[in-house]
Amino acid sequence: MTRNPYRTEKIAFFFLFLATLLIVVPVGLIVVIIIQKGLPAINWQFISDMPRNGMRSGGIFPAIAGTVYLVLGAVIFALPIGVLAAIYLSEYARENLLTRIIKLAIVNLAGVPSVVYGLFGLALFVVFFKFGASILSGSLTLGIMILPIIITASREAMESVPQTFREVSLSLGASKWQTIRHIVLPNAIPGIITGTILGIGRAAGETAPILFTVAAFYLPRLPKSIFDQVMALPYHLYVISTQVPNVEEKIRYGTALVLLAMVLITNLAAIVIRYKFRKKKKW
């Protein structure tokens, strides 16, 4: 039998397309099912009210607020450190053993299971630094978790700024730092923002790192300081799904929907920003 290139082409196309379709289907199903089951629970009271009746009714406002606090805290901590480290790695570090070790450490930091971050945060921030289970401990733990995302994205953004711009700037008598400050950073900001937003999305959705460091089982009020515990959406979802009997299905799915929406909206923001800046860039 001779090989028919047209037929093999069709077969190849079929399988490649099938594989691609298989990626889209679960995403679509997740969104559809969560919306279908969760939407009936969504109303203004659900988003803005305190939980009542042992979390079986009322709203999830403290969990939403808690997640926002934690994510903001993580970014306040991780963004400056991440960007400064990225500047060092991209602009100053020479290629040597130390640099390779640092880069390897960052890659591995990204691969550490999130529950390990949780235990680490418990040991270091909660116990050793005596911050207790608090927003501070949780934010720092989440911050360390998203640090590699921010460093990697910032480094890539800076390294994609053409080398000639740096050369020209230096040849005009600018110092290295002036070159970074006036040429490299402004052109890298879209990439840095995108990376940060992706980190925010990741931090908002994680349960394990906040489990031992901050998350409160039931705390129907807003925190007064960074040393308070808070409720947080992912953990709240876990609690009402497994720890509290007789919670209505729509409340569970409604909570999941709010969490999913927050994460998807932040990711969408990252995509929009990237798209807008990419259109502007011309080199």
């Binding site: 000639t164 020209v168 230096l170 040849s171 005009l172 008598g173 600018a174 006036h182 860039k281 011309k282």
Partner: protein
Amino acid sequence: MSKIITENLNLWYGNFHALKDINARFQERRITAIIGPSGCGKSTLLRVFNRMNDLIEGVRTTGKVLIDATDILANNIDLVALRRKVGMVFQRPNPFPLSIYENIVFGERIHGGKSSRSKLDEIVETSLKRVFLWEELKDKLHKSALNLSLEQKQRLCIARLIAVKSNILLMDEPCSSLDPQATSRVEELMRELKNNYTIIIVTHNMQQAARVSDDTGFMLLGELVEFGRSEDIFTAPKDKRTEDYITGRYG
């Protein structure tokens, strides 16, 4: 008067001996062309004068390069001051992704700190006038410099150097991405500029070297084979290798 003097200048990239005993005198307010085949070291020589080779790891330089009687290879030389004085025009026109205005005042912003708006405006106007771009661009100073034509971009890059008050212009094949008309207009600009600047141009194009330069150096395999007045080099070269090159026997 000699603006730049090199004495026994040698340069290595790692083990590669890229410049061999270069001894030359570049005259003030003249255009000196450096010609030679690819890889002969002409761009490397150019980049010695503003110490841009420092950016490459494993570069070692010996000998002396005197600019205005100061050895710029000395360790304690102020690179910022050197690079303000010795400006460079690159092969590909490379304005920053900023407005035309911001491109020109970049140097002033970096070196001058807080300058008044009127001072910046004045710098932009005089610099653009020097490169004959003012009439064309005065109404779109705040538009992106990336939308200009290649020739306008290259002129803008020269204006950017004029704005930092360079008095030596190093040009590394400044016309290689331009069409013949644009090339001839940029050459005209160079002739105009030499009244105030010392210009060293590296070029592949021998006709260009013959057209614009007062002096010419021919380089081959890291050696400066012959250096002298352009009319002598192009009409009566002393060295056989120079003759072979300018008559097109290799290169």
